[in-house]
């Protein structure tokens, strides 16, 4: 158990040091407004957990950060660069943002090692030997060195998700987005994935995590954000929000999940 993480209240930093800065973000799907003017901030080295009932817009918010969803209006800055700018090189910015999906999305027609190397070679232009070296280091980090020749179909859910994390890390991103990374896993496999994420946090990785794992949020998160109905209702130090929620809907939600 680490104790460092329950710690210091977040001091808002100015935009130049923010890893992620979301301003007045609106997102419509058709006529349905799923994000209703979100202001959201992740500092460098912070771990921010986003919780909320399904349909609250938390995954959409995360997917807007690397433009998998195009915001209807508002601005998003990644390390000071506006990714929502029509002239922004979105591909290049994305290569600085690692993303982990609920459903893993490993490439099934490639071995684990190839999964970790393909974007390094095709996007970063790394040589085969260099990319393999980085891939092997990241596989070792998630404890799956022996699986480098396996195909994704032969991995368990927990192994798949750890490979997916290693794949994202192999691009050496400045920050990581996690979209309910443990929601598709059998309960006994959740721990391994959370451990990898904890290790990553303790190395100082900037992380935005959409999750239902309140234990992880309390233990590892620097900030907890509660969303419902497309707005942020409450945010603060995880232990405080979880122990003493101010908003009545946060209280209702937490009483159901805790």
């Amino acid at each position: 158990m680490t104790t460092w993480s329950t710690g210091e209240p977040h001091v808002p930093s100015d935009r130049s040091t923010a890893a992620i800065d979301v301003q007045q973000l609106h997102k419509y799907f058709g006529s349905n407004e799923v994000l209703k003017g979100i202001d959201f901030h992740v500092g460098v080295g912070e771990v921010v957990c986003v919780i909320g009932p399904s349909g609250s817009g938390k995954s959409t918010l995360l997917r807007c950060v690397n433009m998998l969803e195009t915001p209807t209006s508002g601005k998003i800055f990644v390390e000071g660069d506006e990714i929502t700018d029509p002239d922004a090189d979105v591909d290049k910015l994305r290569s600085r943002i690692g993303m982990v999906f609920q459903s893993f999305n490993l490439f099934p027609h490639m071995t684990v090692l190839r999964n970790l190397c393909i974007a390094q070679q095709r996007v970063k232009g790394r040589s085969k030997s260099e990319s393999v070296e980085i891939a092997r280091a990241n596989l070792a980090k998630v404890g799956l060195s022996e699986k480098e020749d396996a195909y994704p179909a032969h991995l368990s859910g927990g192994q798949s998700q750890r490979v997916a994390i290693a794949r994202a890390l192999s691009m050496e991103p400045d920050m990581m987005l996690f979209d309910e990374p443990t929601s598709a896993l059998d309960p006994e496999l959740v721990g391994d994935v959370l451990q990898v994420m904890k290790d990553l946090a303790s190395e100082g990785m900037t992380m935005m995590v959409v999750t239902h794992e309140m234990g992880f949020a309390r233990e590892v998160g620097n900030k907890l954000v509660f969303m419902d109905g497309g707005v942020i209702l409450e945010e603060g130090v995880p232990a405080e929000v979880l122990a003493n929620p101010q908003h009545e809907r946060t209280q209702g939600f937490l009483s159901k999940v805790l």
Binding site: D91, A119, V123, R167
Partner: protein, 264 residues
């Protein structure tokens, strides 16, 4: 007559076996085997076909089909990507081409590109002679069908694959080439092989082009042989040669389908 349900089913099955045996027996006794063999399977005429039928006709049929299939596959891929494009005119153009060549009989396409083309543009000719026309005609017909198959295959790849590739910084086209299209082709390998079987048979339409002897495909070879020998044996041998190509392909398709069923 209180037969149990199971007993009745058993008797019904025996009755069907008996019927089949009866039909086979009647055919076997009633048929004039000697005259059948003389008009359909004369041994010396069979022997006469070899080895030239393999060296010329079978080889040509395979070449025409292979060239048509490769061109059709490339054309189909381009048409499928146009069909999925966000640019309207590409979609319309591709839809028009697909509907045109899917709707026309292959024979009409051969006529248009062979005799039709040389009459319409007497100063030009399609490069490659008979092979060129066959490649173009079979490619257009096959490509129109394969375009829809490939489009369906691309759309069958889960959306998360494109998202994962994009999240790693790949461009849309890079993700298509490295991630989506290879998976799409795995999905559509069985229907593509079926298309190859269909094209093998459609390649017989090349007979309308007026070929020289060394350009003969199987069907043309068989027709000429049939006419000169006044006997059906050559066409039977040709039929067996087609089966020599298509049956192994069918087996491959069935294997692939069984395999993908297991993988599910």
């Amino acid at each position: 007559m209180a037969l149990s349900k199971r007993k009745r089913a058993a008797y019904l099955r025996y009755a069907q076996y008996a019927l089949i045996v009866l039909v086979v027996a009647v055919i076997a006794f009633a048929a004039d085997w000697a005259s059948l063999r003389d008009s359909f399977f004369k041994p010396d005429l069979v022997r006469e076909q070899f080895p030239d039928i393999l060296k010329t006709a079978l080889k040509n049929t395979i070449i025409y089909t292979a060239c048509g299939f490769v061109f059709g596959l490339l054309l189909g891929l381009v048409l499928a990507l146009m069909r999925l494009s966000s640019i309207g005119p590409w979609r319309w153009l591709s839809t028009a081409i697909i509907e045109l060549f899917r709707g026309l009989p292959a024979l009409v396409v051969f006529l248009a590109l062979g005799p039709g083309f040389s009459r319409a543009f007497p100063d030009y000719e399609i490069p490659g002679g008979g092979l060129g026309v066959a490649t173009l005609a079979l490619g257009l017909v096959g490509g129109a069908y394969m375009a829809e198959t490939i489009r369906a295959g691309i759309q069958a790849v889960p959306k998360g694959q494109m998202e994962a590739a994009r999240s790693l910084g790949m461009s849309h086209s890079r993700a298509m080439i490295s991630i989506v299209i290879p998976q799409a082709f795995r999905i559509i390998l069985p229907p593509l092989t079926n298309e190859l079987i269909l094209l093998t048979k459609d390649s017989s339409l090349i007979y309308i082009l007026g070929l020289s002897l060394d350009e003969y495909d199987l069907t043309k070879w068989g027709r000429e042989g049939m006419n000169s020998a006044a006997n059906l044996t050559p066409i039977i041998v040709v039929g067996l040669c087609y089966l020599l190509i298509t049956v192994p392909l069918s087996i491959v398709v069935r294997r692939m389908e069984a395999k993908s069923e297991r993988a599910r």
